[in-house]
């Protein structure tokens, strides 16, 4: 399956040894080309950062790539405390809090459900495990729109529409197939002798999970955690369709402010608000990039 194929391709030590050699012309050309590409890739982030520190008069001059002169943090203050969405100007800080309140239960629910499911499917003899894995593999590809309306009807029927829990549960549902496949692929490599010994020792499904399997799962938990943090924080569509008005995450508030705003556009405040939204996942990315790469290649089927 793709998930296996992809997770088999994690960073590995390469046998080809690295010889010291002098820089050749072709190397310089390649490095120059790569640097040009890196500049192009970094351009949008650079533009957001410099614009968020500029004053509006300087922005009106139209030099998009110039550095701020003078530097000002006023746009950041305004974005945090007084960004306008529609008629209200309460800043993006409420969205930040909402995003955190969505993130925490989403992480607990999805990691809990998919790690236990992956463990049961990988290490316990369940007769229909193969069929179920195949169905999960299919579910991982299903477009959100095909299940969206029934989910909204169910969530409204229970009476939790527009709460943090509704958004978190939908995140759990949508991430379950992929995360279960990732956990299952990790746990299936646990040696059979170890499981046999554990079975002799206690034999209890839950005790083996808590006492033996979980302590071994550090790496995969970090990978999945990072995958989930970035995807929940960056999510727009689920927040838009399940959060109602009171539980809107940061991305939804940001989009409302950017897209529905009328009249004069205050670019520097918009950029600061966008950057505030992007900072948490960027910190995770630049801090723990290795695990992030691991996660998106293992979770490639999420697309």
């Amino acid at each position: 399956m793709t998930a296996q194929v992809l997770s088999a391709s994690l960073p590995r030590a390469r046998p080809r040894e690295r010889r010291k050699r002098r820089i050749r012309g072709s190397s310089i050309a390649v490095l120059a080309f790569l640097s040009m590409c890196a500049l192009f890739m970094a351009l949008p982030l650079y533009v957001i950062v410099v614009t968020s520190f500029k004053t509006m008069p300087q922005i009106a001059e139209g030099e998009i790539f110039s550095l701020p002169r003078p530097w000002t943090v006023e746009p950041w203050d305004k974005a945090w405390n007084a960004l306008c969405t529609g008629l209200e100007c309460n800043g993006i800080k409420s969205g930040f809090v909402n995003s955190l309140k969505i993130l925490a239960p989403s992480l607990v629910l999805s990691l809990g459900l998919s790690s236990v499911t992956g463990y049961a499917l990988a290490l316990w003899n369940v007769r229909w495990a193969g069929t179920f894995l195949f169905v999960l593999f299919m579910c991982a590809f299903v477009p959100f729109q095909i299940i969206m309306i029934p989910l909204i009807l169910i969530v409204s029927g229970i009476g939790v529409y527009g709460t943090y829990w509704a958004v978190a549960v939908v995140h759990m549902i949508l991430s379950m197939p992929l995360l279960t496949l990732i956990f299952r692929n990790f746990y299936k490599d646990i040696p059979a002798e170890l499981m046999a010994a554990a079975m002799m020792d206690s034999g209890s499904f839950w005790r083996i999970f808590v006492e033996i399997i979980l302590p071994m799962s550090g790496n995969i938990l970090i990978v999945v955690l990072i995958l989930m943090i970035t995807s929940v924080w960056n999510d727009y569509l689920i927040g838009l369709t399940f959060a109602g008005f009171s539980a809107q995450p940061m991305t939804v508030i940001l989009a409302n402010s950017l897209i529905t705003s009328r009249g004069e556009v205050i670019y520097n405040v918009d950029m600061a608000a966008a950057l505030l939204t992007a900072i948490p996942p960027l910190v995770v990315y630049f801090g723990l990039g290795k695990f992030f790469v691991h996660g998106i290649t293992a979770g490639a089927i999420k697309g």
């Binding site: 793709t2 194929v5 992809l6 046998p15 080809r16 190397s27 390649v30 490095l31 080309f33 790569l34 890196a38 890739m41 970094a42 949008p44 982030l45 957001i48 614009t51 030099e63 998009i64 236990v116 499911t117 049961a120 169905v135 579910c139 590809f141 477009p143 729109q145 095909i146 299940i147 309306i149 029934p150 759990m172 549902i173 379950m176 197939p177 279960t180 034999g203 209890s204 839950w206 999510d235 727009y236 569509l237 369709t241 991305t251 989009a255 670019y267 918009d270 966008a274 939204t277 996942p281 960027l282 990315y285 630049f286 990039g289 992030f292 790469v293 998106i296 490639a300 089927i301 697309g303």
Partner: protein, 294 residues
């Protein structure tokens, strides 16, 4: 030992319930509703005389044909990201100085919400204040980069942002694929005096055909789901020129408040996904059989 057989089944119940209700059940529910006249609220009576009414309305709708056309345009255009991803991966893999740095820079767009980066792209395509103005000032007075304002070019703006966002992802997949190629092949090719370009095109690319196939399928599925990028770049405009099926389905539900109509659009999305998905299943089966025979 009886316990040990019941506990795993018990532990799988929540996942099974999610699969049956939230996936299988909801898909069938949506398909069923696409044959009803549900508007703001679902109604469950199938109109026997014109059960396919929502579908004929859908295919008569100009915005839907635009959406389907854009789906193909976006798919073909974004495919460049796979090509760029392969070129970058091959370069990074060969020239190993700065590998970590380049990988970090090429991949960061994936860690940021498209709502954020879409704003940056819209800002750079702003005619008065963005790159167009910059080009005019450095001596290209006729340069035009105001793509998003014109219905004819707005899709190209979205494609550019989409390539920018996903190239790093395909690069990461390609790097993983390149690392699994036996290093002896490199030495053998060097001994035979095969040129670098010929080596990559005639030896490496065929060896990585499964990686390319995976990338192509992931790209197609991503295009079918393309929603955030449309909202962030153009919000469907100018007019309806940049609608995609994913955007159409959400719009039919939230703006037109028509559940039956939205369900029909979602059902067609599912069909498109199946068409893309089928080759993956076949290829996987083919590959497994090839491996067993070997």
């Amino acid at each position: 030992m009886r316990m040990s057989r019941i506990s795993p089944q018990l532990a799988l119940t929540p996942a099974l319930a999610v699969t049956l209700v939230a996936f299988a059940g909801s898909i069938l529910w949506t398909i069923y509703m696409s044959f009803t006249n549900s508007r703001r609220f679902p109604s469950y009576a199938i109109d026997r005389e014109s059960w396919s009414r929502q579908y004929s309305r859908l295919f008569d709708d100009g915005a839907w044909s635009t959406s389907l056309k854009n789906l193909i345009v976006l798919g073909v255009g974004s495919a460049l990201a796979i090509v760029f991803g392969f070129v970058l991966a091959a370069m990074i893999d060969r020239e190993r100085r700065g590998q970590g740095f380049f990988r970090t820079v090429f991949l960061y767009p994936l860690a940021v919400s498209l709502i954020v980066t879409g704003l940056a792209w819209r800002w750079m395509m702003n005619p008065g204040l963005g790159i167009e103005n910059f080009l005019h000032e450095i001596g290209f007075p006729h340069a035009s980069f105001n793509w998003l304002a014109e219905p004819d070019t707005a899709m190209y703006g979205i494609i550019l942002a989409s390539i920018w966002q996903s190239t790093g992802f395909y690069m990461a997949l390609m790097l993983a694929g390149l690392k699994s190629i036996n290093p002896e092949i490199w030495s053998a090719a060097r001994l035979d005096g095969v040129g670098v370009f010929k080596f990559y095109i005639e030896i490496v690319v065929p060896m990585m055909r499964y990686t390319f196939l995976t990338c192509a399928i992931l790209l197609s599925l991503g295009v079918v789901k393309a929603y955030d990028i449309v909202v962030a770049m153009t919000n469907g405009g100018p007019g309806q020129s940049t609608w995609t099926p994913a955007y159409f389905a959400i719009n039919a539900y939230s703006i037109r408040s028509n559940i039956g109509f939205a369900s029909a659009a979602a059902t067609i999305m599912l069909l498109i996904t199946l068409v893309v998905f089928l080759p993956l299943v076949l290829a996987t089966a083919w590959r497994l059989r090839a491996r067993e025979r070997a």
